[in-house]
């Protein structure tokens, strides 16, 4: 899978940033500049493809 970041702008004015195709922490490094531009992250959901997602809340 090619590496890409998908950004969706929700009607409630939050932004969903999704990283696809990255290995390890590469996704975090790739999306960080975009997330920071949007004021950080209020919730992050990690997803190992085809596996149950583990969800945690990130303190701002």
């Amino acid at each position: 899978m090619a590496k890409r970041i998908v950004i969706t702008f929700e009607d409630d004015l939050t932004v969903r940033v999704e990283a696809e195709g990255f290995k390890g922490n590469g996704c975090l490094l790739a999306t960080r500049p975009y997330e920071q531009d949007f004021g950080g992250v209020v919730r992050r959901t990690e997803k190992a493809e085809m596996a149950a997602a583990r969800e945690r809340v990130v303190e701002r």
């Binding site: 090619a2 590496k3 890409r4 970041i5 998908v6 950004i7 969706t8 702008f9 929700e10 009607d11 409630d12 004015l13 939050t14 932004v15 969903r16 940033v17 999704e18 990283a19 696809e20 195709g21 990255f22 290995k23 390890g24 922490n25 590469g26 996704c27 975090l28 490094l29 790739a30 999306t31 500049p33 975009y34 997330e35 531009d37 949007f38 004021g39 950080g40 992250v41 209020v42 919730r43 992050r44 959901t45 990690e46 997803k47 190992a48 493809e49 701002r60």
Partner: protein
């Protein structure tokens, strides 16, 4: 490993994204380093000043006043919209503008990082950017 992240609610962060968002919506805008005078529908100066201006002849309403946006000392951007124009440039319009500012912010970020932003709309009508390039 990949992830989803959800950000806080958007707000307008700068004049560059604001002017890009307004132009995307089809408006002709002026951008000024120093705030300039706004004019009413008679062409008389108003007390308000703004850094980004849609002049009344470009608002799409014949009897409109200038619409302005003033950047405060804290960097926050305040819309200056007359009561008359609030019917057209009301809360719904401003909300859409804030969302578009977010889109433009990400497009500007992608350009600065040498990435390419491909814009589409998803099935629910929400703006969607796909960022590709060398990560």
């Amino acid at each position: 490993m990949s992830h989803y992240a959800t950000t806080p609610m958007l707000e307008i962060k700068g004049l560059e994204e604001l002017s890009a968002a307004l132009r995307h919506q089809g408006f002709e805008v002026e951008v000024h380093a120093e705030a300039v005078t706004l004019y009413d529908w008679h062409g008389w100066p108003r007390p308000e000043r703004a850094h980004v201006v849609i002049r009344r002849q470009h608002t799409g309403s014949a009897s409109s006043n200038d619409v302005g946006f003033l950047r405060g000392a804290d960097g926050r951007v305040q819309a200056i919209i007359s009561d008359y124009d609030s019917a057209k440039f009301g809360a719904a319009w401003q909300r859409a503008l804030v969302k578009e500012c977010g889109v433009q912010r990400a497009i500007l970020r992608a350009a600065r990082m040498g990435h390419r932003a491909v814009r589409t709309t998803d099935a629910k009508g929400r703006p969607r950017l796909e960022i590709v390039g060398r990560f």
